[in-house]
């Protein structure tokens, strides 16, 4: 079994080397004449004003929170998806309860406006 993953490992090495080769090649080929003006941050063609690292909308964070929860729930359903024909009715009831909890959570968030982009 581990042999399969060793192949993935070899492929990973190939995949890592592929972006590296052009980056290194380009490093030797391209001109390098930076000036302070060239390396300044772009902002509508004017001097950049203020800091980038300001507080963002809290909605982004709420979506991320909800995502973590639902992602875990969806992942939990995967082992069941391959086994549900084996575990039969018993497993069906168990998974239905789980799915209902998922639904309830989603519905609750929806009704309470946590999914609203305001």
């Amino acid at each position: 079994m581990l042999a399969n993953y060793a192949i993935v490992g070899i492929f990973l090495v190939a995949a890592i080397s592929f972006p590296l080769i052009p980056l290194v090649l380009a490093f030797f080929l391209r001109p390098k004449r930076p000036t302070p003006l060239k390396t300044s941050t772009y902002e509508c063609g004017l001097e950049a004003i203020g800091d980038v690292h300001v507080q963002f909308k809290v909605q982004y964070y709420l979506y991320a929170l909800a995502f973590v929860i639902f992602d875990i729930e969806v992942i939990f359903l995967y082992p069941w998806a391959v086994a549900f024909q084996v575990v039969g009715l018993y497993g069906l009831i168990a998974a239905t309860i789980f799915l209902l909890m998922l639904f309830a959570g989603l519905l609750y968030e929806w009704r309470k406006g946590a999914l609203e982009w305001v």
């Binding site: 399969n4 192949i7 993935v8 972006p19 391209r30 390098k32 979506y63 009715l89 999914l115």
Partner: protein, 405 residues
């Protein structure tokens, strides 16, 4: 494993990576030509015959372009981000079966889900958790864009990066649900098994019509293609997360995006359109084996199956370009609504359909068509519901504005 096997595997890995990157280069040309045609233009046709050397010309240009690292950037992360974007796009390919060329010279072994006597060099490896591997790698794919946006220290990049990561994670759920329904239909997480089970024309789109629609929408959003390309909405975000990137680093982001596009198209083919299956493929394998022996039979089978797979993928790529040429970009709040309030509930509903129908009707053909019907009805209802966008009450329409006298 002996050294020869390892050598073959290493060569295979590098050849496939090279093939994928070449496919990327020509996809850019393909897209530009098709887009041009759809907009009544000609498109790039000067470099080489019919513009076929255009990707090479682009590459040369990018290699010699001056690379500017913004002084304000967080340098290590800024340099890391393009690589982090490309690597997941490439390693998804580890489990996708592009065809079936059995090096044990027996084409029939390709149809065996247990993989006895099968050494398929047109798939890097078949993991017993292949589908989960794909999802895991996609979930890592968020980082490239997010980090690029953060490290550039540019407001446009930051907005683009944050937007895109919120978009990607939202649609990842819908994608997970769509793929989960496929896994449920075939009862396996191995991509090879999913393909072998679609033998005989009952392709995944029949039981999972709804799953397919969900997958296509979610996957398009996942690879930030039009109409979900808010990450690089030029009008509002200049260039989005890669505003401060140039030369080869920019090319790597571009490459990641297009390789992901090819990968999700290839996965769509694998899950919903029979992978490398094609009507008459087994007859061809049998006849060639009878005529010219098992070696020739396997080789012909392998090449034809690869051809069939690529043909299907090209159809998907064409559709993607067509969509890009036809549809306007979504607004961000609508995008989030679509992901959370349409795709995710419908995806969960689809799981319920799939479970109940498969448990109640064990017969494969019957339950596939029942699911097809249910899917079609659901899609029709969903489209009907979504026809009129509800007006937003905190917006004053132009005709309602009261002008002061």
């Amino acid at each position: 494993m002996d050294w020869l096997t390892i050598l073959i595997i290493v060569i295979q890995c590098f050849v496939i990576t090279l093939a994928v990157t070449t496919a990327f280069a020509y996809l850019t040309l393909f897209e530009r030509r098709i887009l041009a045609r759809l907009q009544n233009r000609v498109g790039p046709n000067r470099a080489g015959p019919a513009g076929l050397l255009q990707p090479a010309a682009d590459a040369v240009k990018l290699f010699f372009k001056e690379d500017i690292v913004p002084a304000m950037a967080d340098k290590p992360v800024y340099l890391l981000a393009p690589a982090v974007a490309v690597i997941p796009a490439l390693i998804i390919w580890a489990v996708i079966p592009f065809g079936c060329l059995n090096l044990n010279w027996d084409y029939q072994a390709c149809y065996d889900p247990a993989r006895t006597n099968l050494w398929n060099i047109l798939q890097i490896t078949d993991l017993n958790i292949g589908v989960l591997y794909v999802l895991a790698v996609t979930s890592i794919g968020v980082y490239g864009i997010t980090l690029a946006g953060w490290a550039s220290n540019n407001k446009y990049s930051m907005l683009g990066g944050i937007r895109s990561s919120a978009q990607l994670i939202s649609y990842e759920l819908a994608l997970g649900c769509a793929v989960l329904s496929v896994v449920m239909t075939y009862g396996t997480l191995s991509t090879h098994e999913i393909v072998t089970q679609q033998q005989g024309g009952l392709w995944g789109i029949i039981p999972q019509l709804l799953g397919f629609v969900l997958y296509m929408i979610a996957a398009t959003a996942e690879v930030v293609r039009a109409p979900f390309d808010l990450v690089e909405a030029e009008q509002e975000l200049t260039g989005g997360y890669n505003t401060e990137y140039g030369s080869m680093k920019f090319a790597l982001f571009f490459m990641a995006e297009y390789i992901k596009l090819i990968a999700v198209s290839a996965l769509a083919v694998t899950f919903f359109f029979g992978g490398w299956h094609f009507p008459g493929l087994d007859i061809l394998g049998r006849e060639v084996t009878a005529l010219a022996g098992p070696v020739a039979g396997s080789i012909v089978f392998g090449i034809v199956s690869l051809g069939a797979f690529l043909l299907k993928v090209v159809v998907f790529l064409f559709i993607s370009v067509w969509v890009r040429a036809s549809w306007p970009r979504l607004r961000y709040d609508r995008l989030m609504d679509l992901g959370w309030k349409w795709l995710l509930p419908v995806g969960l509903l689809n799981l319920v359909y799939t479970t109940v129908v498969i448990i109640l009707i064990p017969d494969r053909v019957v339950h596939s068509w029942v699911l097809f019907g249910l899917g079609a009805i659901t899609i029709a209802i969903a489209i009907g519901f979504n026809r009129t966008p509800k007006p937003i009450d905190n917006v004053t329409l132009v005709k309602d504005i009261q002008l002061p006298n």
